[in-house]
Amino acid sequence: MTEIAVLPATAHTPARRPPQRGYWRNVLKRFLRDRIGLVCLMVLLAIALAAIFAPLLAPADPYRTSMIRRLIAPGEKGYLLGTDELGRDMLSRLLYGGRVSLSMGIAPIVLSTMIGGGLGVIAGYFGRHINMMIMRVIDVFYAFPSVLLAVAMAGVLGSGILNSLISLTLVFIPPIARVAESVTTQVRNQDFVEAARATGAGSARIIIEHVLANVTGPILTYASSLVSVSIIISSGLSFLGLGASPPTADWGLMLNTLRQAVYVAPVNAVLPGVMIFLTSVSFNLVSDSLRTAMDVRA
């Protein structure tokens, strides 16, 4: 039977495309075509850059108080955005505030993506008892409304940035772990994982080389959709006095201390919230565009 020569497969199906560029480059291309997402990304970049270069951009020292210049309305007496209840320059404080507020919104998501994502992938890949053990604990933490868990934990641990970070991370571990577990379970049951096992590869290697490549996309998109919530809740903790402590410049804390001034200088009092809102909306829309860009198979 060996007389039949092996035909090159190309003779039957000619090559359709030149060697491909990879999935992530396709995603990037699709993302760049989305105008709303792009604009929001610019906004976020601008806010982040403003926070990073706050010392260069701020017109005044964000911590210098002045009893005679309290609650000046925006635009008056050379204060572009007015002053706060202790006479500090609002614009400078908003610029500096982005440092704490942005990091406190993003850091918990980064941490919980690593922890929750890791736990979820392990639970999903190994299944059975390991899955049971991990996911039951996750379910318990999922049984708290997120704001309640964050406030209660921060309240118990005491105020401060670190405790607020711990509480928020704890809040976001369960939802991320659940998503990671479910996508990993799907991937894990696909034939290519079994094929990889058939080569004799160990679990760690299969997870790193075969599973992660297929689950990081969905996990990251999901996590990115949580950044907006994280910004809102973390600023909320500061707003309750559970996050950054005075006199730190932080949007949530500024909202808190300016609350009493709402009757006298409503515009000043409301300004930090505008920043929180702008950031959270932008994150939401960027994450939406990212999801759309990743949705269709490359």
Binding site: P8, H12, R16, A195, A213
Partner: protein, 348 residues
Amino acid sequence: MNMVDARDRGGPRQPLLTVEGLRKYFPLRNALGTVSAHVQAVDDISFTVAKGETLGVVGESGCGKSTTARLLMHLIERDAGSLLLDGDPVGSGGVSVRDLRRQVQMVFQDSYASLNPRHTAVAEIAFGLRVIGHRRAEAEAQARQTLRLVGLDPDQFAGRYPHEMSGGQRQRVNIARGLALNPRLLILDEAVSALDKSVQAQVLNLIEELKQRLNLTYLFISHDLNVVHYVSDRVLVMYLGKIVEIGPVDEIWRNAAHPYTRALFSSRLSMNPADRVVAPPLTGDPPSPVNPPSGCRFRTRCALAEPICAAVEPSLLAAGADAAHAAACHAVQAGSGHSLAGGMTHAA
């Protein structure tokens, strides 16, 4: 042409693979999460695969072909039974799972699902080589060689992702992945079933050629009888987790003993009228593997069924003139108590 394999231990007479009493029951869970029943996917099967042969495995969908393959690869734990690889037991004390997987490889049923959508062809093939200790560059160079071996130009295909290839090309990559580890036994699970007829012929030819070139042994699973006839030396027929008939391919094609095998043939469109065996075609679906019929599992669809078939499970005994031919049917086993069988208690 056959060179001597350095890994050969027992000589040409010793089967490459000996399977004894292999069994797999999948637990079924109810809504409360407790095990309420079992799918008897593979139930107490024994057979051997000789060195250098192609053993075809046929049977309806769901009869346990893929489960058998996965058991042989140790991808799922067997509930009972033993496996001997060239005389050595697989498992505790004998051949390790790792060694088993270097000597036995598998081409999976679904060519698309069994390739990682995020890996290029060369990365997919090189993966196994890296697992056994090759460096990346070395593994990729070897993977490109293997691509050439299966008839794909590495310059063109090495960087392709699964969705950038046709079904036939993907199946070639799958075969290349199996071959990269230089196995002795290659299990091909429906390797050509999903392909167009013309592509199917190409891949079949490739499979045939590789067998000669690489001194391989095949376990060839398919539900397409024509394909099995074309590639196999011997054929094993499965029904609901059991082996109902086994024997040399031409013997089975000419003198099928089991009513199920005959029914399979009659439902086939044969090119050659002389091939046709006269038997009632199969009707209806096979019974559930959760509650298989007592005695002979085929009796509910068998025209020859008698009370004995429900009472006693037939064992796989020699049938016909060829000693290598065996069937599990009371109707052909003398002394079984079936009205069509002879009354003698000693079989030929």
